[in-house]
């Protein structure tokens, strides 16, 4: 039995997953997460410890550690590092085996990934010029409209007459929101408009990355139902959201780690 950990060192939260191949196929046996803070190495170690505790395994009992996320290179005890695009695609494909595209909408970055038949990354695009079209747009709107972030998605679903938001800057869009509010537009309609404008940008990225027929949505906004609906409306394809979307990249890293470990072991056995 091989034990492998995947650790996703994100800018806000670090997530770890431990998998084992005891039953012939990789199974997740534990998960854990901690706030990242400024010490990335420590965050990775703590998240791993939490995942091991969750699995009921001892510290130091994993055979291989793969890291991903923004702090992936800052973890000295790693065996392998992959980007969150590679790991996200791998994790999403594991959870939805027929998925051909993955959208990862985080607070600052949106990534669109298309998958080849065997689940490899075929193409990808990220928003890199400015934060327009990233999740922070919603965070700002919620703050401005004085709504709990967790409620935003539900509220947007009740919109009757969504108002478009045309500004390309997440910050300047606020003045558009102000205009809508002052003009008496309902909060529902404004939020729905925001989701639609996010969905429009995400769709464009996805189309430029090569589209796909079945879409998995991961990242911070995946939990928000308004976002899911806006994407479905725009792309006309089914959108699935993993139950634990925070752990998708960590899972993907662990799976890639397991694969790498197997390759190494078989190479070693060939040599010996």
């Amino acid at each position: 039995m091989r034990k492998v950990a995947g650790i996703d060192v994100g800018s806000a939260v670090t997530k770890a997953v431990v998998v084992s191949d005891a039953e012939g196929a990789a199974v997740v046996v534990g998960r854990g997460s901690v706030r990242t803070g400024v010490d990335l190495e420590k965050a990775a170690a703590d998240a791993l410890a939490a995942a091991l505790a969750d699995a009921g395994w001892q510290r130091g009992s994993v055979d291989y550690i793969a890291t991903t996320g923004f702090g992936r290179s800052s973890v000295s005890f790693r065996d392998l590092q992959v980007t969150e695009i590679t790991s996200g695609a791998r994790g999403a494909r594991r959870l939805f085996p027929s998925a051909t595209a993955v959208l990862d909408i985080g607070s600052q970055c949106t990534r669109a990934i298309t998958l080849a038949e065997n689940g490899k990354v075929r193409g990808f695009k990220t928003n890199d010029k400015c934060a327009a079209g990233s999740g922070s747009f919603i965070v700002r709107a919620a703050k401005y409209l004085q709504i709990e972030l967790g409620d935003v998605g539900e509220i947007a679903l009740r919109a009757e007459n969504p108002q478009p938001i045309s500004s390309i800057c997440a910050v300047l869009a606020e003045s558009e929101i102000i205009n809508h509010v002052s003009a008496g537009v309902s909060v529902e309609d404004i939020l729905s408009g925001i989701y639609d404008s996010l969905a429009e940008r995400a769709s464009m990225l996805l189309k430029r990355a090569g589209m796909g027929q079945e879409l998995v949505l991961i990242g911070g906004v995946a939990r928000q139902k308004g976002m899911v609906r806006a994407l479905e409306n725009r792309l006309k394809v089914p959108v699935s959201v993993p139950a634990d979307c925070e752990y998708v990249c960590a899972l993907g890293a662990a799976l890639l780690g397991l694969k790498r470990l197997e390759t190494q072991l078989s190479a070693a056995s060939c040599q010996s």
Binding site: T83, I85, T86, C109, K120, T126, D128
Partner: protein
Amino acid sequence: MHCAELERTFDNCAEIVQDLSLAEVRRWKNEHPGAKAIGYFPVYAPMEIIHACGMLPVGLNGAGDRLDIQYADARFGSFICSIVKTTLEMAMTGHFEPLDGMLFSTICDSARNLCYVIKRNFPQMYVDFLHLPHNPGSPATLEFLRGEYARLQQQLEELGGCRATEEGLRHTIALYNQNRALLRQLYALRAAAPHLLRTWELYTLMRAGNFVAVETHNQWLREAVEELPARTGKPRDSIRVVIEGSFCEQPPLDLIKLMEEAGCYVVDDDFILGRRWFTEDVPMNGDPLTALAESYLNRAVYSSVRHDFRNPRHKALVEKTRRLNAQAVILLIAKFCEPAYFDYVLFKRELESAGIPHLLLEFEEKAFTFERLRSEVETFVESLLFD
């Protein structure tokens, strides 16, 4: 691996490339009292004509992140590429003091307007604009371009109070033919053994030539060609890529290094194209200006700012990729570089139908952190390496 001389040359070149004060140009002018230096922006300039007039051609490739833009932003607003702004900023902050003239050409709309903005703000400087023809297929074009080169030569002769003889031009052409032949050799060497010559080394060696006399540069290149085979090194598990799109604004040195760190062997690129845009030697017989003009029309390297509808650029890219046995193409495009972005559409179409994977990356010369780009390059490499 023991080529101390070679390492010193690379370090020296890196220093010259990083230096914004044009110290090498000042030194050349001190050694040649009264002689002029002419800056050219940055591709398809007929350096031979400048050299034959007894002047030093100086390649202008922007200022990277070594100069804060404080004045140029007010002249060129949003949505304009960085090299246009850094070039103007260098001018407005006195960095071009050693230059007696500047030469621009038809490469793009922003560059052309830059020519005239500089002309207005620096009336004491000789600023000229060359029309490089877009219709190489017409019999009328050769005559036109020869005339345009003759016009330039005459302007320079007036400026320098000198005469460029046919003899002198032929001598110059021979020197530049040598320079380009040596660069071609180095490129071939790297494509064959990319672990022996890293891209940043080749890049700085080549770019340093922008600031020194061609005779000096030839010497450096010759040394490199002679000493490189003695180098040793272990090949890494990297993918072979062709880089396309950086023909004008140059990616930061750290970004070039990052490409290799992230697992790419660069087997061809279009960096510093201004030094090596003839694909073969310019003929030494006949009228030299005609030979130069005819070479621009018939043996100049393609790029997004040279148009020759007889030979589509997208086909040439695929051909090059296959010839060099590269696995992928990285389209490394400067932010706001409209010609490159237009070409991307046709490049993408052609690469996809040829089954060659590609990655589009956008850079800005003034950037100095590359987390996002690193992620993208790593992902791209991972997508080709893992199954």
